[in-house]
């Protein structure tokens, strides 16, 4: 057995304390870097993104500067050499996201309900696994699937309505592909919130004579509303920010807005990706301006929906 020397012990404790302090400062520094980096991201993109509006670009011997208001409210992506505008693209993006959420919400909520409460365990586990696999499929595969298969459906459908579509590249295709991609996310979050509902509510409802189905739809879903709403907010952010798959099936129309679901369209993200490999100068920098717009739209919708969620919760609905 080792006998401890009293002085040595104190010394050891002192060095340990010193090491602790050093580690604490070091880790604080690392955590600081890791979390503050995101602010730098936004600031850097912002600086780069406002450049087209403040500095002049030389294209074919003439100097150009992008006008901020025509950029925000125009209806043609590029007129002449430098007259960029994304007004119609913003409208397209919001329109597409709205349609996507309209499809995603019922599908996700009911899928989650079926998984949590309406099927025996083996089936619900299988369904859950399927949703998890769907969530892990990369967006480029959804894009390929959309281009190879969903465009075919879009084409047949638009033929049915006697509408000449561009090989199926359309709002319809984009919405369907985005729905496929956001359903897993929203479903997974809805499952969590449905599972968290207090079982007393269920028991109370059943004891009052409500049927199982009535309990599920009129007690359990409303009780999980707040969590489901958070899931929908996340799904909406993903739908707004999804790039690769959308750019593959959107068709990148040059003007708009396109409200016909069978006509080609253009979203903020598809604008950022289309023709990126040949882009340079103003054509490259303007994509950062589109990027800032995207960030602002996402933040705006997040805040708006969060505000609605708070209102809902306050009213006890």
């Amino acid at each position: 057995m080792r006998y401890l020397n009293r002085d040595k012990c104190f010394k050891k404790a002192e060095t340990n304390a010193k090491a602790d302090r050093i580690v604490r400062y070091l880790l604080f520094f690392i955590a600081f870097l890791a979390s503050v980096s995101i602010l730098f991201v936004i600031i850097f993109i912002f600086i780069k993104g406002i450049k087209p509006f403040v500095s002049e670009y030389e294209i074919q011997g003439e100097k150009y500067r992008v006008d901020f208001f025509s950029f925000l409210f125009g209806n043609t992506w590029l007129k002449g050499n430098a007259d960029y505008s994304i007004g119609f693209i913003i409208v397209n993006t919001i329109y597409i996201t709205f349609l996507t959420m309209l499809l995603t919400a019922p599908i996700s909520i009911f899928t989650a309900l079926v998984i949590v409460r309406m099927t025996p365990k083996p089936i619900s586990v299988t369904l859950n696994t399927i949703i998890e696999i769907l969530a892990s499929i990369p967006s480029v595969i959804y894009g390929m699937f959309g281009l190879g298969m969903v465009t075919g459906w879009a084409k047949n459908l638009s033929d049915l309505f006697n509408y000449q579509s561009a090989g199926g590249l359309s709002t319809f295709t984009v919405v369907l592909v985005l729905t496929m991609m956001s359903v897993p996310t929203v479903t997974m979050l809805s499952i969590t919130s449905l599972k968290a509902v207090n079982s007393n509510l269920e028991k109370g409802s059943l004891a009052l004579g409500a049927s199982r189905s009535e309990t599920n739809f009129k007690v359990i879903i409303p009780a999980a509303k707040s969590g489901i709403f958070s899931g929908l907010i996340l799904g909406l952010s993903r739908a707004l920010g999804e790039a690769t798959a959308v750019s593959m099936v959107a068709g990148n129309r040059l003007n708009g807005p396109s409200f016909n679901i069978f006509s080609t369209t253009r979203t903020l993200t598809s604008t950022m990706l289309s023709g990126i490999s040949e882009a340079s100068g103003l054509n490259y920098d303007i994509r950062f301006s589109v990027g800032i717009t995207l960030i602002f739209i996402i933040i705006f919708f997040n805040l708006l929906l969060r505000f609605f969620k708070k209102r809902l919760e306050k009213r006890g609905l």
């Binding site: 580690v23 880790l27 979390s35 991201v41 298969m149 496929m180 790039a243 995207l294």
Partner: protein, 407 residues
């Protein structure tokens, strides 16, 4: 309200209606997965082979010759459909098309004793072994009497075989490898995974340790957490933008090349994955019982020792989950990399140069004119299988992890 038989029946009908549309909606996911799998396997299974995984994307031309004389008619015809066979040389040729749909003559069968296995590479003077699926373009032959035949791919396989049957020696022949393989992209993906984890893991884990074990729960910590949450909600393409304006110039400081590279791509992905790693690791640390820490501290260890020798080893399965989740994201990421690295497919991978990962390879094959769904689907099959395996391991880990701390 009085409960009558009729109202009960009405209620039952309503219940059945409600339930059935819920079930109907829940089939959406099953349907989509089935369709995606069908699509991918239908188009991709022909392409998927060992050769597809291990060969180069770009074709290479080699000029070869053969000047030992051959014996006549020694090889047996394997009688494959549409394949013209030369019994003198022991090779089977077939008319086919290359990736750009140009007509080519493919070597589909080579006898194991064929002279085509011991050709001479004109450039390097080494023996050249012809591979099946490579193609022959130009051919200059002569026989022992000195007459010369000239063959070209546009005359078709049948004519070429007739010339070969008459010839004794090959003066020169241009062999083109088949190309279209994904070896480069596979290696590039592996590099991308390793580099990204190398950059992201230490920072992510240490940040998680700080936030959950060391930091006081005050305003500053709260701000940190809010920022990390914010970062996890930002679309990947925005991270691509930051890669383009921050990491490409940063890497260029060391490599002196101005374009995107594997390094700039992996730094971008590392930044993007930090929130995932931090959150998952924090969850893992939270599941380690507090008594472990208290016990360790009571034995007189310092806080640092407790963290690195007690808490983190016990949280290891959870940290592994973070790693696996990150790998899944890295393999599938495309939008961020299109900006921060570019989409050039390469066969020889250099860290300071751009190259495509598997997801970018798919993008490159499909998103432009004349999409090649076959090869892209074959790559998708690989990605889907890897994803499935990762998912299974994560499931297994979390199951074991939960079991360990359950009392």
């Amino acid at each position: 309200m009085k409960v009558t038989e009729r109202s009960l029946k009405q209620r039952k009908a309503k219940d059945i209606f409600r339930d059935s549309y819920a079930y109907l909606f829940s089939l959406f996911g099953v349907l989509i997965l089935a369709l995606i799998l069908f699509f991918v396997f239908d188009k991709g299974h022909e392409y998927l082979s060992w050769k597809f995984l291990t060969s180069d994307y770009y074709t290479t031309n080699t000029t070869v010759s053969y000047d030992k004389s051959t014996e006549v008619g020694t090889f047996e015809d394997p009688k494959i459909e549409n394949v013209f066979f030369s019994s003198r040389w022991g090779v089977g040729l077939e008319d086919g098309y290359d990736n750009e749909k140009n007509s080519i003559i493919q070597v589909t069968y080579v006898d194991k004793n064929s002279p085509f296995n011991s050709l001479l590479n004109e450039a390097s003077q080494e023996t050249y072994r012809i591979e099946t699926n490579s193609s022959i373009s130009t051919l200059l032959l002569y026989d022992d009497s000195g007459s010369i035949f000239f063959g070209e791919s546009r005359y078709g396989a049948k004519n070429l075989i007739q010339d070969l049957e008459k010839a004794d020696k090959i003066s020169s022949m241009i062999v083109q490898t088949s190309g279209g393989g994904i070896r480069g992209s596979l290696i590039s993906t592996i590099y991308m995974i390793l580099l990204t984890l190398l950059f992201a893991l230490p920072i992510g884990i240490l940040t998680a340790v700080y936030l959950s074990l060391i930091a006081k729960q005050n305003k500053v910590t709260e701000v940190f957490r809010t920022l990390i949450d914010l970062a996890s909600g930002i679309p990947t393409i925005i991270f691509g933008l930051i890669g383009a304006i921050l990491f490409i110039p940063f890497v260029a400081l060391f490599t002196h090349k101005g374009n995107g590279s594997l390094l700039s791509g992996s730094l971008t992905l590392a930044l993007m994955l930090l929130p995932v790693i931090i959150n998952t690791t924090e969850e893992a640390i939270k599941t380690v019982p507090k008594s472990y820490r208290e016990g360790s501290l009571a034995l007189g260890t310092s806080n640092t020792q407790t963290i690195f020798k007690v808490v983190l080893p016990n949280a290891l399965p959870g940290i592994l989950t973070a790693v696996l989740l990150s790998i899944g994201r890295i393999i599938g990421e495309s939008a961020a990399l299109i900006y921060s690295m570019g989409t050039t497919i390469k066969d020889h991978i250099i860290l300071s140069e751009a190259s495509a990962t598997l997801a970018l390879h798919i993008y490159k094959l499909v998103a432009f004119e004349n999409p090649n769904f076959g090869a892209a689907s074959a790559i998708s099959i690989i990605i889907l299988i890897v994803d499935l395996i990762l998912n299974l391991i994560v499931k297994l880990l979390s199951y074991r992890f939960l079991k360990k701390f359950k009392r």
